[in-house]
Symmetry: C2
Amino acid sequence: MAAAIALAGRTRGLTAPNPNVGCIIVRDGRVIGRGWTQPGGRPHAEAAAIADAGGDIAGSTVYATLEPCAHVSERGPACSDLLAVARPERVVIGAGDPDPRTNGQGAERLRAAGIAVTEGVEAAACRASMAGFLTRLATGRPQVTLKMGLSIDGGLAMDDGRSRWITGPAARAHAHVERARHELILVGRGTLAADAPKLDVRVAGLEARSPRPVLLSAHAEGLPEGWLHIASPNDIASLPGDHLMVEGGAGAAAAFLSADLIDRLAVYRAPILIGAARTLGDIGLTDLLQAHGRWQMVDMRALGGDRLEIYERRRS
Amino acid sequence: MAAAIALAGRTRGLTAPNPNVGCIIVRDGRVIGRGWTQPGGRPHAEAAAIADAGGDIAGSTVYATLEPCAHVSERGPACSDLLAVARPERVVIGAGDPDPRTNGQGAERLRAAGIAVTEGVEAAACRASMAGFLTRLATGRPQVTLKMGLSIDGGLAMDDGRSRWITGPAARAHAHVERARHELILVGRGTLAADAPKLDVRVAGLEARSPRPVLLSAHAEGLPEGWLHIASPNDIASLPGDHLMVEGGAGAAAAFLSADLIDRLAVYRAPILIGAARTLGDIGLTDLLQAHGRWQMVDMRALGGDRLEIYERRRS
Ligand SMILES: NC(=O)c1ccc[n+]([C@@H]2O[C@H](COP(=O)([O-])OP(=O)(O)OC[C@H]3O[C@@H](n4cnc5c(N)ncnc54)[C@H](OP(=O)(O)O)[C@@H]3O)[C@@H](O)[C@H]2O)c1
Ligand SMILES: NC(=O)c1ccc[n+]([C@@H]2O[C@H](COP(=O)([O-])OP(=O)(O)OC[C@H]3O[C@@H](n4cnc5c(N)ncnc54)[C@H](OP(=O)(O)O)[C@@H]3O)[C@@H](O)[C@H]2O)c1
């Protein structure tokens, strides 16, 4: 299932409105087929994996990060029907598909065809690998990641605004790869005016994966060509794509945090102290108690001399 | 040597002006003696370990975190002379003793007595275990640790000063144990006035290890009984003890950082965002480039939902 999740990551940010799914087919201890949702959302991962196996998967075990779909569309048959015909011995499923057109019916159709089904394997990791799709399905808006480059003492910049550089080259390169995993990247008007940032992916081989820039501002004047515009964080539901990265500055970050629209924090932390620094600013907190229980660190890694801390918003 | 270092930690903060040393004696694969510098600085670790072994250590291997001393004092004989008489087969030394009265002469005296000597084993870890002693020897002042309880975004408190609580019970308990490893604990007048803090060690069994409180203020008025006073961070050389913890607040912390008198940062980091927060304030930085290359993370651990990050000042 870990291998299937890795395959699913290949088209993260390219499959909306479909989920990015991964699929691996194993027979006699050998991988005979690998597939992932293709850009634009079709073919689905299972169809791609069956094709990769040359069509014959009888007696195999199929691992899929998401329950195979049960709905026929103009763009192709339902994956559960495809599998019922192809007759693997077993289908191992990660996450259930909450889409009402599937939602258990995919697994049921496989069982009805006499195929063994195991559900919920590494379900949390599978859900995390398609958090954008699941967020859109549950809330109607993209998953939102707030990126911040911070000092030990929480500075985004010196108090006169200078912020070159807080983090080092390894962290900056990583941040560019992260951009490629998002369809949308947002800055506030302050950052547009101060930095005229390009917001593209400057990593060899990933240039074509640059996200669509979005401006947050009360008005759309001076919107650069090709950019989108929203007048409030609450308007993100209208944006195309399931993954939005909020790149800054402090005003935009605070506006999204105040609206409780950040799902994930990516903090690139440099081992420096700034002292008199620009920090986040008001996020609507009236009591320290409110601040607790919201964020959970889910990952951390070294990037050169810096560290990346990933926190997720706990919602229950 | 790791076991000897652990023994050395038992009297950290209690042996000044002597170093806290650990010693283990092994014969035929068995530990026959364990010793550490006793409170007040005497007996030395080697003498304590020889006594623990019942006096007979012929043919053994002695592990000592610091080079055995070469100087006779009124309070006891030189450890290198003791060992020369006790005739272990080998002495394994961690750090060399920079004290001019020893500084290589201890090891030389052992070799002259026909005892094999290995030097520099786990030297960095040994030096770290007696950083207070080494800092005093090199600079004439105690080693200084700055403790801060911080949010993800670097807040020390909300902007109206409320700071209860940023970190949780596990972090607060750990901070009390850290206090016990210091002879001295300092706050600025602002913290004394606002919180009248007790600054003692409220951990069962460690009450007697409470450090001596020190006030940082331009004047000594209203100094609580039993407290010491300094009028400037630069006056710390006069304080008794080799380990000083700067407990806060922001003004005192910034004053010590501006004077470049912090050797070690202990950041208790809570997984919360505050937004509009009190932060460190001016530490004399005029350029972001200056901020880099000063701090290195040397340890990190989870404490309940919080994390402790330890940074050391790089000096070269
Ligand atoms: N260290 C880092 O990670 C990092 C990253 C990016 C930028 N920066 C720095 O941050 C600085 C800019 O920060 P900033 O805070 O001045 O500007 P900003 O956050 O980029 O933009 C602030 C603007 O965003 C708009 N905005 C904010 N909240 C809004 C809301 N609720 N609804 C509609 N519009 C809203 C407003 O534009 P209107 O006034 O037009 O309505 C506001 O003036 C730059 O110096 C940049 O270099 C640092
Ligand atoms: N989150 C945490 O980790 C933490 C820890 C401790 C305290 N706090 C909070 O911090 C707040 C107090 O912070 P604060 O910044 O107002 O006060 P502070 O740092 O405790 O004290 C400031 C005072 O220290 C003295 N001082 C500073 N620099 C000096 C220098 N170079 N030479 C001589 N004296 C110097 C001055 O006293 P004089 O004016 O008398 O000369 C100055 O007014 C309290 O609300 C407390 O609750 C938070």
